[in-house]
């Protein structure tokens, strides 16, 4: 039987969410691996763009930072940071954004700023970077994260970037252009927003129980009526994925 790590599992599932031709705002780490895997399988026309202003990257090695020069050499285009956030993201040219953070709450809001109070925090996190605008303006957003109770509180300490606020109506009232989070991919399964914007369990990976997911989630988690069991990573997917991270930096 094929074995794989939790990171491999999440990355393969994230890759499958991408569509051929998607323009994706990528970060380093698992999202970068997911995009490169998708490009080598079902989405050869995927366009990867980076907040550093790189469009259509073709990295020949694993990029170790968002500004790795391998993202520039052989890219389609490089523009200023101001242009990437205006002409590309704000204008609506980005189909998919990947997001991450220390906390994701019941309505898909993300905290990347502080644990505790803003002015007297227990922990000061790195901050928004590009994520506030990606969460607002990319057509679809995906979150890849390990499933742990402390990462899934009922309410984030600080809403660095918007999911559905306290419900879809609130997000829509803000007039923001993007569709918000479409799925959270974890090592246990998938959370997706329901009609109200609340994240509900829509799929579990093989062998995972609903109770196990609930035990690792900080709010009373609803399970979808048509709860799916996911298709495990295939041999070919894993082979291609491991080629992308030969030193096992992100996939371990």
């Amino acid at each position: 039987m094929t074995t794989f790590t939790a990171s491999e599992l999440m990355t393969v599932h994230a890759a499958r969410l991408l569509r051929d031709g998607d323009v994706v705002f990528v970060g380093v780490g698992l999202p970068n691996l997911a995009c490169n895997l998708a490009r080598r399988t079902h989405a050869p026309n995927l366009v990867m763009i980076y907040e550093a202003g790189v469009i259509g990257a073709r990295p020949s090695r694993l990029p170790l930072s968002i500004g790795d020069p391998t993202l520039v050499t052989r890219a389609t285009s490089v523009c200023s940071m101001y242009d990437i956030f205006t002409l590309y993201l704000q204008r609506g040219n980005v189909d998919v954004g990947f997001l991450g953070g220390a906390q994701i709450d019941r309505f898909g809001n993300i905290n990347a700023t502080v644990i505790g109070d803003y002015n007297h925090p227990k922990v000061r996190l790195p901050g928004s970077g590009g994520s506030m605008e990606i969460a607002g303006w990319a057509n679809r957003c995906y979150i890849i994260t390990p499933h742990q109770k402390r990462r899934f509180p009922e309410k984030v300490d600080f809403a660095t970037s918007a999911g559905f606020l306290n419900g879809r109506a609130a997000r829509e009232a803000s007039g923001v252009r993007g569709g918000g989070p479409q799925a959270v991919v974890t090592n246990l399964g998938f959370l997706e927003p329901d009609e109200s914007g609340e994240l509900v369990l829509t799929a579990v990976h093989p062998g995972v129980t609903v109770e196990e997911v609930q035990a690792n989630t900080g709010w009373p988690l609803k399970a979808a009526a048509n709860l799916r069991v996911t298709e495990p990573p295939g041999e070919e997917e894993l082979r291609l994925l491991r080629e992308l991270d030969p030193q096992n930096i992100y996939l371990k």
Partner: protein, 300 residues
């Protein structure tokens, strides 16, 4: 008129205690040599503005140069946390102003454009907007809807590393552009550091590549390998090993001070630093050439 001088002279003349400094470079062209020279000259009470403070500001904060940081992402890129800045912020010993990347670059764009503010569409997230009173709102007079605005940022001095420039300060930049151009136009004074000083004719052979013109530049310094452990596209690679190493060095004040002693205070300039880095690292970071397709401007 030539503006060539040493980096030591440029920092002495153009960076003063209390200044707001923007050492530009979004993950690329980060002017580490200039940060080290500021540390050596013992500047105090600086406001350090950068979208991503990166190791350069972690080191400057460790050396006691800063009273405040303005930023949009305080991380060690690809590694994790910036331990020193984070510790100082959590302890309340360092003032700060926080934005998203777009808010930060919009501040610079407004400053560069000579505008009082720049508008941005709403993101639905309002927590940071509420936490930072410099975020404001303006009503779009066409739709009646509100946009979020940030005020112009006009640093006292910007430090900009470039691949090549002439001795007057006309600069060619390629690879990741980040906020190089915006910082140069926004700042009151500009120190250019360059991998190569080239004849004016090289610059004039490709005017579309010139992002910074001489008349916004105060000083031009020839500083090869200025960006190590960051990189300069086409010249040398990023030294990721050092980014990982800094994560360890910055675990204790003692190891940080020892590192500063060995690599900053104990060093005269970037040339000495680069020699000390050593041949093995030089080789590891060297990059085979790969040239752009020719571009014909025409002999008009």
């Amino acid at each position: 008129m030539s503006k060539l001088c040493t980096l030591k002279e440029a920092i002495a003349q153009h960076v003063h205690d209390g200044d707001c400094v923007y050492a530009a470079g979004f993950t690329h062209l980060i002017p580490f040599a200039a940060g080290h020279e500021i540390i050596r000259q013992g500047r105090k009470d600086l406001t350090l503005a950068r979208a991503t403070p990166d190791l350069i500001y972690d080191q400057m904060v460790a050396a006691g140069c800063a009273k405040k940081v303005i930023y949009s992402y305080i991380g060690n890129p690809g590694v994790g946390s910036l331990r020193i800045i984070r510790t100082e912020l959590e302890a309340g010993r360092l003032e700060f102003e926080e934005y998203s990347h777009f808010g930060m670059i919009s501040r610079l764009q407004a400053g560069a454009a000579g505008l009082p503010f720049m508008p941005m569409n709403q993101t639905a997230a309002t927590a940071l907007e509420q936490a930072n009173p410099l975020y404001r709102r303006v009503t779009d007079p066409y739709s009646g809807r509100e946009v979020v605005v940030v005020p112009a940022l006009n640093p006292d001095v910007a430090i900009i590393h470039v691949q090549r420039c002439d001795e007057r300060g006309n600069a060619h930049i390629w690879g990741i552009l980040g906020e190089q151009k915006e910082a140069a136009f926004a700042a009151k004074r500009v120190i250019l550091t360059a991998e190569e000083i080239v004849p004016e004719e090289v610059i004039r052979s490709d005017p579309n590549r010139t992002l910074i013109p001489e008349f916004v530049v105060s000083a031009v310094c020839h500083v090869p390998y200025c960006s190590h452990p960051s990189y300069t596209q086409g010249y040398y690679d990023r030294d990721n090993d050092f980014y990982l190493e800094w994560d360890k060095i910055s675990e204790t004040p003692e190891s940080v001070q020892a590192w500063l002693q060995e690599w900053v205070y104990g060093i005269t300039d970037r040339e000495a630093y680069w020699q000390k880095v050593g041949a093995e690292t030089h080789k590891r970071l060297s990059v085979p050439p790969l040239y752009a397709a020719p571009v014909n401007y025409g002999e008009y």
